[in-house]
Every structure is written in structure tokens, then in C-alpha cells.
Amino acid sequence: MNAAIRRFAQSNFMYSFGRDKVAMVSFAILAAFVILAFSAPLIAPYDPYDQTTIDIMDSEIPPAWQDEGEARFLLGTDAQGRDMLSTILYGTRISIIIGVCAVLMQMFLGITIGLVSGYVGGRIESFFMRLADIQLSLSTLMLAIVALAIFQAAFSAEAYSDLAIIMLIMVIGFAEWPQYARTIRASVLAEKKKEYVDAARVIGLGAPTIMFKHILPNTLSPLLVISTVQVANAIISEAALSFLGLGIPVTKPSLGSLINSGFEFIFSGSWWITAIPSIVLIALILCINLLGDWVRDALNPKIYKEK
């Protein structure tokens, strides 16, 4: 175990990380966001889900550094009198959970379909790749909007708000599996011809073992590259869907639904209800995208050779 850690620390991957300031700073900010968001129940000054602690008299108080701000609400309050800091911490947690779980689902579907398509080939391959082509041509955001709109119209509002997180993960997860399936299939087609796969087949291993234990580990670097971008995209999609009122309800808001709930108040001057969660959202996505750029360069053998 120790040896593995030492090997990882001495790898090219970590070497390039240590030389790239942008990557280090974005990683630090991202890590801070994740840690703060997941310790929200411990560090948040208020519980935004507890209706009894919310006082409507506290509504629309600006952040503490403004003239009318109050020290007990560092980032001000929203229109219902909820503390913005606590709500944002909880909301960031929901956004990250949905982003990561949706990508895990895309991975699960995409890896299975991509591996099987690439390894088995034939009709299965052409069927799934056609399906992937068609699904990608239909725009994933549009699919997600339509699917959620139908679900929302079909369920009652209360039933929907309980299911919202699961629905969002399912919809965003299902909408983007072709990205993984195509990447994996392309790698599998390249790996399949190599000797180690022949060797595994000759000693009598079954197709599932060869696919998951032998080929899959050799296709991990393109997976890592698209995964960072996919998490950023999933978080954006969640925010967009919640902003449209098709995602997480305002009672347990994610960043997108918080921005939505504050939108009508920017005209009356309460900018912070929208602006602060927006800044958190943009910073979160930007850090993931910058890390994704770095991962792509660090794992690209072409660029590695140039240096």
C-alpha cells in the first residue's frame, strides 16, 4: 500500500501537477468547496430545511459587509428569511451529489455498452452506436427538459419534490451515456488487437473477465479526461433544469433553484440572493473545467513527448 502511494507520488502525473500552478489552485479551491459542502450540517450556522428557525421578519437582509447587513447573517438572507450562507452550503452539497451520481450512472451505462459493443462487435455494436448517434444528435439538455417536464406534469407537485434528486440523476445520467460508450468503444477496438488480449483468450478466460479485468484498466485515461468535463456539464445541466423550475424544489434548494428563487428580486435591488450562489456555481464549474484541461494535457502522450 505504501509502495503504491510512493509510486503514485513519483509518477509523471503528479510531477506535472506539481509544476502547474493553475491545476494546484483549482484543485485547492475545489477541495475546499467539497469539504465545506459536505460538512454543511456541522458548520452551517442555521438549518435551512428547518422551517421553525426561519423568521419572515429576517427576509432580504443584505450581506454583513453592507450598511444594512447584520453580523448573524454573513451572506445576508433570501426572500423567506433563510440564511444565505447555510442555504448555499447545503445547496452546493446537493449540486455536487447530483453531478457526481449522474456521471457515475453515465459511466456505468456507457462503460458496459461501450465494452460490449467494442468487444463483441457485429449487430450489437451497430445497434448501440446508431442509438448513440441519434441520442447525441437530439441534444441532451433538450431531452432532459422534455423528460422532466413530462414527469412533472404527470406527478403531483409534492410527489415530484420528493423524487426530484433521483429524477435529475436518472435523467442527466441517461442523457449522456453515449459520450462514455463511444470513448470506451474506440479504446476497446484499439486494445482488442493486442497480444495480451489474445493471451488471455488462449488461457481460456471468459469474455466478461477479459473485458472488465484486462481491457477496461487500459482504457482508463481517456475515461478520466472526459469524466471531469462530464461532472462540470452535469452540474451545469442540473442548475439549468432547476433554474427552469424542473429540478430541485425551492424548499430544499440546489444552487440552480436558489438562483431561480432570487431572480425576481434583482429588479428590486436584492442582488445577493442571485449573485452569491451564481458566483459559487461558476467558481465550482470553472475549477473542474481547469482541472479537466490539465488532466487532458497531462495524460496526452503527444504533449508529454513535446516537453
Binding site: 441534444s139 433538450m142 406534469a153 462540470a232 439549468a240 433554474f243 438562483i259 470553472l286 473545467n289
Partner: protein, 345 residues
């Protein structure tokens, strides 16, 4: 301008048997996709809301309801009902909107020009900016300006469309008061029967600026990056090296030899992105209360106006399928290197 290299390619390309087979497959696929979309649309109609309640209200006895269900054919087998739905749909009848009390397709047709205005404006912005900027970044990858553009573009990709829209409203409409914050304005010109556009009046144009900029904000950096990377790849290729070796002028190599082959994949991606842009119009129209199709769709969802929801899905599905098929057919025809018989690209 020298001999039109690229055009001679196109002219020499004949329609072959291979191409006809490919086109046939593509059209078959398009029909199949539209069939699935219509099936989805129909099953929504079947499961969402009760058409009888919309017609009669609550105070009608169970026996009368059942008689009316029979009369309207609601008790027929699934495929009989679907057949009726598709026959009407092909004739342009997708039901009557519960809210507007008018044919649903007509309601959408009324709102379509507003969305078209947005898409045209955003496309113009993207084409006029991304091509020169992307080409510049590819030709001078190490210039500080190119690096700055790449840096800004990753920030651009990270800001969701609806936030660009909100911030531009806050800055230019609420704080500075330079631009109107919502709607299309009063002063529109009818350029075709039924298509009123805001491009030709001062008021209409002012209303278009912020929504179009917001709509283009996420695709512009994507296209700049795409053009840059495609062009850099092309500039490394053998035929460009040969052009340099012949001693051609840089401008000729860049803009005549390299740019044409760069634009081919870019145009294909662009065609596919029209669908994505339609999805983003829903966001932009919501923020700017733009009276287009996307805004209409969300209102229809909130009112559970089933015929309108179905019509929107079918109209948008048709736009997607038609643009994708046309782009695919053109691309394969123009680009002789594409393997027609190959599965997937």
C-alpha cells in the same frame, strides 16, 4: 484568387450507388426517429390528464362519461388510437390547446418567428466572431492575445447561459439602463407573411441584443476552441507543409488551403448544434420573458396543456431530425474522404 480547388472537388463528385444507399438509410433512420418521437408524443396524450374532464368538467355521471369515451374512441385499442393520432398529425392537426382554445400547431407557429430571431442573431454573432478569432489563435498559438482568448474562453464555457442572461440584465438593463430588460419591443417589421422580425427597427434591435449575446455566450467559446484545434491539426498536415515548400504566400496557405478543410468539420458540428441552441432558447426566453416557443413550452408544462406540450415536442423533434439529416447528407456528399459504407465515424 487562384483556381477554385475546393469547388472542382464538388463538381467532380457524382451521385454514386453507394451514396444513394447511404441516403436511403439516412432517410429511413430519420423516419424511424420521427416515429419514436410521435409514439412518445402519443403516449403522453394517453397518460397525461383526462381529455373528458377538460371537455365536461366534474358533474357528469359515470355512464354518460363511458358513452362519450366510446364515442370519442378513447376505448379503442392502442394502435387504432395511435393510427388516428398519426393520421391527424400528418394533416397538421395536433389537437387544440386547452389554454389558448386554438389549434396547438397554430399557437406554436405564431411564436416561432420570435425564437427564429434569437437563433439567427446568435448564429450571426457566433459565425462573425468565432471564425476570425479561432483562425488567429491557430495561426499564432503563442501570442499573448491568443493565450488570453483561450483563458477567457474557458471562463466562458464555465458560465451557464442563464447566468450570462441574468448578469447582462442586471448590468445593462437594471444598473446602467442602456438596454430593455424583457420582451421583443413594440416596433416589429413583417418581412414575410406571419414572420415579424425585430432586426430592422431600432427598438426591436435593442431588444434583441442582450438575448442574442446571452444565447451565443456558451457556444462562442466552444466554436473558437473547435476552430483553433481543427485548424492547428490541419496546419500540421502533409499538404500544408507541401504548400509551404512550394513557397506560397502565408495568406494563401492559411485562408485558401487550410481554412477550407478546417471549416468542413466545423460546419457539421454547427449543424448538430442547432438542436442544442433550441434547448438554450428555452433558458434565454425564460430569463428575458421572450415570447417564443421555449417560453410557451414551459408555460404549457405549468398549465398541463397536453396538446401544446405534444406539439412542441413533435415540432422540435422534426427540426432536429431534418437539420441532422440534411447536414449528414451534405457533408457526405461534399467530403469525398468520408467512408459511406462504414458504421459510425
Amino acid at each position: 484568387m487562384g483556381p477554385p480547388l475546393w469547388r472542382s472537388h464538388v463538381c467532380s463528385r457524382r451521385i454514386t450507388i453507394d451514396y444513394l444507399v447511404f441516403a436511403g438509410q439516412r432517410l429511413l433512420q430519420a423516419t424511424l426517429v420521427m416515429f419514436v418521437i410521435s409514439l412518445i408524443g402519443f403516449s403522453i396524450q394517453d397518460n397525461l390528464g383526462d381529455p373528458l374532464r377538460e371537455l365536461l368538467g366534474q358533474s357528469v355521471s359515470e355512464a354518460e362519461r363511458e358513452a362519450l369515451r366510446d364515442e370519442m374512441g378513447l376505448n379503442d385499442p392502442f394502435f387504432v388510437q395511435y393510427g388516428r393520432f398519426i393520421t391527424n398529425a400528418v394533416q397538421g392537426d395536433l389537437g387544440t390547446s386547452y389554454f389558448f382554445k386554438r389549434p396547438a400547431l397554430q399557437v406554436i407557429a405564431d411564436k416561432f418567428p420570435a425564437t427564429l430571431d434569437l437563433v439567427i442573431g446568435a448564429t450571426l454573432i457566433i459565425v462573425l466572431i468565432s471564425v476570425p478569432v479561432g483562425v488567429y489563435c491557430a495561426i499564432r498559438p503563442n501570442a499573448w492575445l491568443a493565450r488570453a482568448v483561450m483563458g477567457i474562453s474557458i471562463v466562458g464555457i464555465s458560465i451557464p447561459v442563464f447566468l450570462t442572461a441574468i448578469f447582462s440584465i442586471y448590468l445593462f438593463a437594471v444598473t446602467l439602463g442602456w438596454m430593455p430588460s424583457f420582451g421583443r419591443g413594440e416596433d416589429l417589421v413583417e418581412i414575410f407573411p406571419g414572420w415579424k422580425t425585430g432586426f430592422f427597427t431600432k427598438d426591436g434591435f435593442a431588444h434583441l441584443v442582450l438575448p442574442c449575446v446571452s444565447l451565443s455566450s456558451i457556444m462562442l467559446p466552444l466554436f473558437i476552441r473547435l476552430i483553433r484545434s481543427e485548424m492547428r491539426e490541419i496546419l500540421e498536415s502533409e499538404y500544408v507543409r507541401f504548400a509551404w515548400a512550394k513557397g506560397l504566400a502565408p495568406k494563401r496557405v492559411w485562408f485558401l488551403h487550410a481554412l477550407k478543410n478546417t471549416m468542413l468539420p466545423v460546419v457539421t458540428v454547427g449543424g448538430v448544434q442547432i438542436g442544442t441552441m433550441l434547448a438554450y432558447t428555452i433558458l434565454t426566453e425564460t430569463v428575458f420573458q421572450w415570447p417564443g416557443m421555449g417560453f410557451l413550452f414551459l408555460e404549457a408544462v405549468n398549465r398541463v396543456d397536453t396538446p401544446l406540450i405534444i406539439s412542441y415536442i413533435i415540432v422540435v423533434g422534426l427540426i432536429f431530425v431534418v437539420t441532422n439529416t440534411v447536414v449528414d447528407l451534405l457533408y457526405t456528399w461534399v467530403n469525398p474522404t468520408v467512408k459511406i459504407t462504414g458504421r459510425g465515424r
